[in-house]
Symmetry: none
Subunit: 235 residues, 4 copies
Amino acid sequence: MTSLPKRRKSVRRAEILAAARAVFLEHPYEQASITQIADRAGCVVGTIYGYFENKRELFDALLATFYDELIADIEPRFAVIEGTADRLRFLMARHLQITVDDPSWLKVLDREARGGESYFGSKLHQLNRRYAQFVTRTIADGIARGELRADLDPQMARDFLFGGLEHWVRNTVGRGRRNDATAVAREMVRLLLDGWAAAPAKGAAAPWQGLEARIAKLEGRLKPAARTRETEESK
Amino acid sequence: MTSLPKRRKSVRRAEILAAARAVFLEHPYEQASITQIADRAGCVVGTIYGYFENKRELFDALLATFYDELIADIEPRFAVIEGTADRLRFLMARHLQITVDDPSWLKVLDREARGGESYFGSKLHQLNRRYAQFVTRTIADGIARGELRADLDPQMARDFLFGGLEHWVRNTVGRGRRNDATAVAREMVRLLLDGWAAAPAKGAAAPWQGLEARIAKLEGRLKPAARTRETEESK
Amino acid sequence: MTSLPKRRKSVRRAEILAAARAVFLEHPYEQASITQIADRAGCVVGTIYGYFENKRELFDALLATFYDELIADIEPRFAVIEGTADRLRFLMARHLQITVDDPSWLKVLDREARGGESYFGSKLHQLNRRYAQFVTRTIADGIARGELRADLDPQMARDFLFGGLEHWVRNTVGRGRRNDATAVAREMVRLLLDGWAAAPAKGAAAPWQGLEARIAKLEGRLKPAARTRETEESK
Amino acid sequence: MTSLPKRRKSVRRAEILAAARAVFLEHPYEQASITQIADRAGCVVGTIYGYFENKRELFDALLATFYDELIADIEPRFAVIEGTADRLRFLMARHLQITVDDPSWLKVLDREARGGESYFGSKLHQLNRRYAQFVTRTIADGIARGELRADLDPQMARDFLFGGLEHWVRNTVGRGRRNDATAVAREMVRLLLDGWAAAPAKGAAAPWQGLEARIAKLEGRLKPAARTRETEESK
DNA sequence: TATGAATGAGCCTTCATTCAT
DNA sequence: GATGAATGAAGGCTCATTCAT
């Protein structure tokens, strides 16, 4: 009824990309075959080579599409968030969301994209950097604003963010555990921002006592001294 | 034409393992070929099948060797370290050291070992668990002793430890950045234990946390001092 | 380097089947190689897999073709023959004819088709049964009509028919002996119908049996004439 | 206690033959591997080549052993049987007995021994002939004595004997049917000696009537006569 | 004579890529 | 532009046979 969208030209390309997406999500790069992709795209192998130079380029185009969409989705929403903690929570939740929409994407990105020796400097690497910069900038910003410690290594922080998240996903998703992106993101950010060390006892019982005792011990370095215990009620 | 003169079987086996190691470090499992391995081992493909049932078994044997050596190296040294922070520093430094000895090992482990659907329950999975338990137990212990926050999710903590580390390695190693395992490990542990936040999340009594951590570091420099048991009832 | 110019798919398929036929006639299944078949078909191995799933399927397709043609040839001619003896003569002559057209077919069928543990219930088994039923039904019919002994074991009779024939072929064909299918078939049927014993097994009224058979042969020369039935009480 | 049998020398050879026998009974020639045989013989592959030139020769030696034992077993027992029918019964029962002792032997002989292009004239062929001559001579003898029809083709008779038997075995053995060698042999010999054609009615009702009628019909060959229904009630 | 590690040709099968139609 | 048959190199794996020990 309404006018047909322009179609003709690049519809095929999109169909192929969609088919490739489905296939690459199911099989690692080496095991995904052009034939499968062609079948799913409803065309023959030869056709694909009319749109993409070769298998690798098709795969890269796919990842580019993925990143493009991801970034396009994040950008406007990210722009309106102010606090560092909120920004991190949003980014982690969004990243986690990927695993909900397509549980295999992270594995694909991880396994294939970075595998090749030609990764650094590649188009893919650039896209990945563009994506990672949401985090990088958030951290730099947080430090500048005084919300994050001044001595925080931004790159290392970013690596813990993504790396920890990916590791967690690998061990958790698909294994019947919780997968509430928002709650998990909140927990993770708390973990990173507040640290793991036991907080000083909430009551009055003084942190200083312990500290003083230990300092005293250190000052008598040469003879390994006995120690008294510190926080009784924590657990 | 003629075959190599007879050699010790174990020698050949070691040669093959070494060759396989080199090849699997360069190529993902699917792409690494027995032919390549044979070439590098200085024998023909058939020979390899005299030592290993098939490609997968060769690969698994390789990983098993890796883990065995790693665990054998860690175990006794770990056993004599007492403090949670020291333990974590040691484990992270040791893990980082892997990337110095063999920059690609982690990638291999990551890419291949967990990829297959048959990973869970495999010999490899068990080895990986045994290794990961150094961290897992350290964290659980730290919580029990009151050195780590009681509400720390041990699994998530472990994932951030390994995941962050791996991510960092991926982005850092081989790109001309610093690689002093001990210093990096120290920094990472500080990051995780103390948190990123500039000030204690909320509340007034701020500066102690940082103090504690710095003292802990000082302590770590001494030989592990005698300690009194802390939480008697835990586990 | 360049591939053969495009051809009709069915033509290629036929070429491959013809090549496979030639190779399987010369070598037992296990020894026949796809490479040989491809060479003889004038293509490369890969091409064959564009037409057949695998070696076994190619082989089965071959046998199916053989049986299909055989059955298609026999069915209409068999349908118009009436007497048991005539039917048997026709079937044996036709079976013998196979050995003239393709001296090795029976050996192939025999060697391979029934060899595998998966034979029973296979498509091949069904085809073989369909073919064998021409004989089975003829025998059952002959007994019902009183033309064959009521105590004849039909299965055993069928086995002697085919088995004896195959054995004879094996020992005779290609060794310079006579090979007049019709005459041999006539002789064989006589052998089986009349028995080898010089005189009726025991009893006095001897010569009739032979007479009957000779008359039957005369009848066989005419278009199937009317017949009266003989032994009422048998079976 | 008693003196050890001479041993030393050819014991190994016998062990190897025994192992080969077991393996070749389980796998077709191509699929039986020297390694398997060595394993079962309790030696290593190299050893086998000290006793047999190659795989084929080992196989042939095996068959020779088989025939030797078979012939040695048959000869004395056959020598004391007088009647043609009894002799045939004995030979068939003995042949059937092979399938009881080792259900796979006939298949092996059939599939492998005769498969090769070099079968005729081979040592194996000769052994097979020696064995088959028990039957051949029995038939020739039977004709000479007047116990078998003078116009019986001895070779064809032999082929029906063995071929039918083998075919029957293939379709019967291992499929849960009866396997009483003596009874089956008796039945088979009866089948062959007496023929399949229905015997003249036991009562008085005259064979002549039918014959005369049919002869009359034949004499009026030229006009295809009308037919009367015969067996109304049959199927 | 026994050993068994090494060989190397061969097997079946897959698949990215090309190109005549 | 689409087609899909053909290619050919490569893959994992097997195994009869050899030969230095």
